[in-house]
């Protein structure tokens, strides 16, 4: 059943059409949720919630935007709401980024000059760093760099301009670099501590 036909039938409450739409999009929505929250149980809940909202609202879908964009917008909003509740703050999407205090732009430090990340970035490090990103940055980074969406698609999903999407992505990457540098420094510090503790016990 083609997607357009499934949408039309789902608007009439057809069970087969609901399932067809779910099967067409569940993988991308679930992976988006999983990468945003890094927890399978939460990702399942969020996927369910996103599809539930979709099916509740499907009668209002008029095709002004692509169906997948509409669905992903719902999913991203569901995830951002969840993250906002988690952080315990009531902030707008724009506020869910971390602007540089003075200029409003990305932070401009280079990290430690002699410390390079190349070779020290792995899945675990990156995932931990992504978890620490402000929700707005996280959403754009996951959508673009992990999920592979283009900026025009992200603009549709996040309801922002293409320029805004590019700028958020850049800030997200810069923040990730900082976080990864911090992780590398922390690890180096722990290694030093462990080494000195070892040498102390030998003395």
């Amino acid at each position: 059943m083609p997607e357009a036909e499934a949408i039309r039938l789902a608007q009439q409450g057809n069970a087969t059409a609901f399932e067809r739409l779910y099967r067409l999009h569940n993988r991308r929505v679930y992976s988006l949720c999983l990468r945003m929250v890094s927890n399978t149980a939460e990702a399942e809940d969020l996927t369910q919630e996103a599809f539930l909202q979709l099916f509740r609202k499907i009668a209002t879908f008029r095709g002004e935007s692509a169906f997948s964009t509409w669905l992903h917008r719902l999913a991203v909003n569901v995830v951002l709401m969840k993250l906002r509740k988690k952080s315990g703050t009531e902030t707008s999407l724009d506020e869910m980024t971390e602007p540089d205090e003075e200029s409003g732009g990305p932070r401009r430090d280079f990290g430690t000059a002699d410390l390079r990340l190349s070779g020290s970035i792995d899945r675990v490090n990156l995932q931990r760093a992504v978890e620490q990103l402000p929700p707005g940055y996280k959403a754009v980074f996951v959508l673009h760099d992990v999920q592979g969406y283009e900026h025009n698609e992200i603009a549709g999903i996040m309801q922002c301009s293409i320029g805004n999407s590019k700028s958020q992505l850049h800030k997200a990457r810069m923040r990730l670099r900082e976080l990864l540098h911090e992780a590398v420094r922390d690890k180096a510090r722990e290694d030093r501590k462990a080494a000195s503790a070892e040498s102390g016990s030998e003395d």
Binding site: F18, F110, R116, K166, R177
Partner: protein, 220 residues
């Protein structure tokens, strides 16, 4: 070539990462280890993120189970038509593969049949006659009756071979449709919609046979 500062390079870094490679930025990058390190780090982050994308993610089946029960509880699922779905898939494909003149002929025949049968109450089968009992076996007497009618049609050959061929083609179309509907009913005997489709298919055949009989009698 004018050289740019690290601050200038940072200002252009966003567009640089988007592939906008200014020659003065390139020159700066060649001479500045700090900025080079920064770009390499950002590229490494992007590279690792795209590796992450390639991960196979299995969606747990319980998500759909939960959703389905919620949709039912909330009354969002209002209709379930497996028979219609079946018709829309393999019957639809088979139907689409038929030549247009055959379909047009079948359609016209059904229209004419409708007109004939309205004026011929003897050969018409009412809903009560066709589907009186509640069990799926209730279609069997009708099926037998249709076979008997079809056999008797053999003795009323139409004088025009072209009309005969067209009617037989239409009969084959209806027979195929019946076979599909019977399959649906066999798979889901309690499905009212599937049974309804089968009933309609039988009725189409009854109407077609009635028309063929009528033509045969007129040509005798």
């Amino acid at each position: 070539m004018a050289t740019i500062t690290c601050k200038d390079f940072l200002d252009r870094l966003e567009s640089w990462m988007e592939g906008d490679l200014h020659s003065d930025s390139q020159a700066h990058l060649r001479n500045c280890p700090h900025c080079r390190s920064l770009v390499e780090d950002l590229k490494a982050i992007c590279g690792e993120a795209s590796n992450w994308r390639a991960d196979e993610i299995e969606v747990p089946p319980r998500i759909w189970t939960y959703l389905q029960s919620h949709l039912e509880q909330e009354g969002l699922i209002r209709e379930s038509r497996p028979a219609e779905t079946a018709k829309a898939t393999w019957f639809g494909e088979w139907f689409a593969a038929l030549p247009r003149p055959v379909l047009a002929g079948a359609y016209l025949t059904l229209l004419i049949t409708g007109a004939f049968t309205l004026s011929r109450p003897i050969n018409r089968h009412s809903n009560e006659d066709l589907w009186r009992a509640d069990s799926r076996d209730s279609t069997m007497p009708l099926r037998a009756q249709l076979i008997a009618e079809q056999n008797s049609f053999g003795s009323f050959n139409n004088a025009n071979p072209a009309v005969n061929a067209s009617l037989n083609q239409n009969l084959a179309i209806v027979d195929n449709y019946i076979a599909l509907c019977e399959k649906s009913v066999q798979e889901e005997p309690q499905n009212e919609v599937a049974r309804d489709y089968l009933y309609q298919a039988y009725q189409q055949k009854a109407d077609l046979l009635a028309q063929m009989t009528e033509r045969g009698e007129n040509n005798r």
